[in-house]
């Protein structure tokens, strides 16, 4: 039953991604100003939105670990696995944002990269979470989870700075498509559909990979715990 549910979810995710691709590439109309290259928007913006979601999941895991580490060690271990999985998937999504952005920028602005605030802070966000993963690799022993949880909270403090910076400072990055000013928002319903399907598809895909990663990390925690137990008994 459980396996069937997982299989069904995998199938739905793949179908969503195919449907999202079809909508973005074949159905949505060309942008009046930018032409075909604007279609990268359907990948760039959903992954950008979702990378914030996964960093938020990582933050919840980090806080959960710190909250439960004394009272409920089992739940703390689960929270730590969630924090690690969220950070890893977030880094991957953030990487997609940082790759698709310059491809679009090369056509639209004529340059691959510009050191404007929003681009810079997204890059900084990526650097922070890569350093989080590096810490998890360099630190050894049981304290790694506590140290990583603390760094995870510090990293998450930077996320609001990233988000708000687009409105605080004048930038070269296009104004927010949604919730910017009265003229913003996708006017064409076909564009909105393509965008919505892609957000949903990438969300489903991210959650799928997150769950796999979480499961693997839980397994590894159990192996480590068993090894520690055997070492104690030997």
């Amino acid at each position: 039953m459980k396996k069937a549910a997982i299989g069904l979810y995998v199938l739905i995710t793949i179908a969503l991604m195919i449907w999202g691709f079809y909508q973005a590439i074949y159905v949505a109309p060309n942008d009046a100003m930018q032409g075909e290259v604007s279609r990268i928007f359907y990948y760039h913006v959903p992954t950008a939105m979702l990378c914030f979601l996964f960093f938020a999941i990582s933050l919840v895991g980090s806080i959960g670990y710190l909250a439960y580490r004394r009272g409920n060690p089992l739940r703390a271990q689960a929270a730590d696995a969630l924090a690690l999985a969220g950070a890893e998937i977030g880094v991957i999504y953030c990487t997609v944002v940082l790759i698709t952005g310059p491809i679009w920028g090369r056509r639209a602005w004529g340059i691959w990269w510009t050191w404007d605030w929003r681009l810079t802070t997204t890059l900084v966000l990526w650097l922070i979470y890569v350093s989080y993963l590096l810490l998890r690799r360099f630190a050894a022993g049981p304290q790694v989870q506590t140290l990583a949880a603390v760094l995870g909270i510090f990293g998450a403090l930077d996320v609001p700075i990233v988000y708000m910076s687009n409105r605080w400072f004048r930038t070269q990055h296009p104004a927010p498509v949604f919730g910017g000013d009265s003229d913003s928002g996708l006017k064409d319903p076909l564009m909105l559909h393509a965008f919505g399907w892609n957000v949903l598809a990438w969300f489903a895909w991210g959650i799928l990979v997150l769950c796999f990663r979480y499961y693997v990390e839980r397994r590894q925690q159990k192996i480590a715990a068993n090894e520690a137990q055997e070492a104690l008994e030997a």
Partner: protein, 222 residues
């Protein structure tokens, strides 16, 4: 300021006064960075004023890492750090005392470095010079506060001295940017540095508060 904090602070200042380890290495290192930058970029005229703020901030940043690594490594030597962990006073006091001590070291280095800096880069300040007395301490506080915190975090990891830079620099980037922009706009007289000063102030308040709240967790991590 509580007695425990005062004791930690006086201890650190006394050790530094007697050895001058951190101070001399920081001063010489930042002087080297200033010289290396001026060789790499050949500063003259307007251009030197444009890059001076950045060079000063980056020189401070690199130099202070050597002191930050020493800050806790010194305590490991005779297991002092274990004694500090067992002490009944809250860890936040120890943290704050260390930050204040290192803040003073870095500030003294900056004050000594400033005249050389003005000479090497032929600077005359076009904006309001007194604002530098706000910007530099705010930026230094952001650097040292986070630095001491992450040094405590990375002290028990493999290659800790490298790891400190790897986790400190990304988190410090927003403050570095604000520091550089504010300093540059003061030196050149273009633009208003007040937005960047506010950003620095906000950064300091947020990260110092969180550091104080989480320091015990890091310090007692098993």
């Amino acid at each position: 300021m509580t007695r425990a904090m005062w004791t930690h602070l006086v201890k650190d200042l006394r050790i530094e006064l007697r050895s001058l380890d951190a101070f001399v290495s920081m001063l010489f290192f930042s002087l080297l960075v200033v010289v290396l930058f001026s060789i790499a970029f050949d500063p003259h005229g307007e251009f030197s004023r444009d890059i001076a703020g950045g060079v000063l901030s980056v020189a401070t940043m690199f130099a202070s890492v050597s002191a930050l690594n020493q800050a806790w490594a010194r305590e490991i030597r005779h297991n002092v750090i274990d004694a500090q962990r067992m002490a009944p006073s809250p860890g936040a006091e120890l943290f704050l005392a260390k930050v204040i001590a290192n803040f003073l070291f870095v500030t003294v280095v900056q004050v000594i470095l400033a005249p050389f800096f003005l000479i090497f880069y032929n600077l005359h300040i076009a904006g309001q010079a007194w604002l530098l007395a706000i910007v530099l301490p705010l930026g230094t506080w952001a650097l040292v506060g986070n630095g001491i915190f992450f040094a405590a975090l990375s002290i028990r990891t493999r290659n800790r001295e490298l790891l400190l830079s790897l986790i400190l620099f990304p988190i410090f980037i927003p403050a570095l940017l604000a520091m550089v922009r504010a300093t540059t706009s003061i030196l050149t007289g273009d633009g208003d540095p007040s937005l960047w000063i506010k950003l620095l102030l906000g950064y300091d308040i947020i990260f110092t508060t969180v550091s104080l709240l989480l320091f015990d967790v890091v310090f007692h991590a098993e």
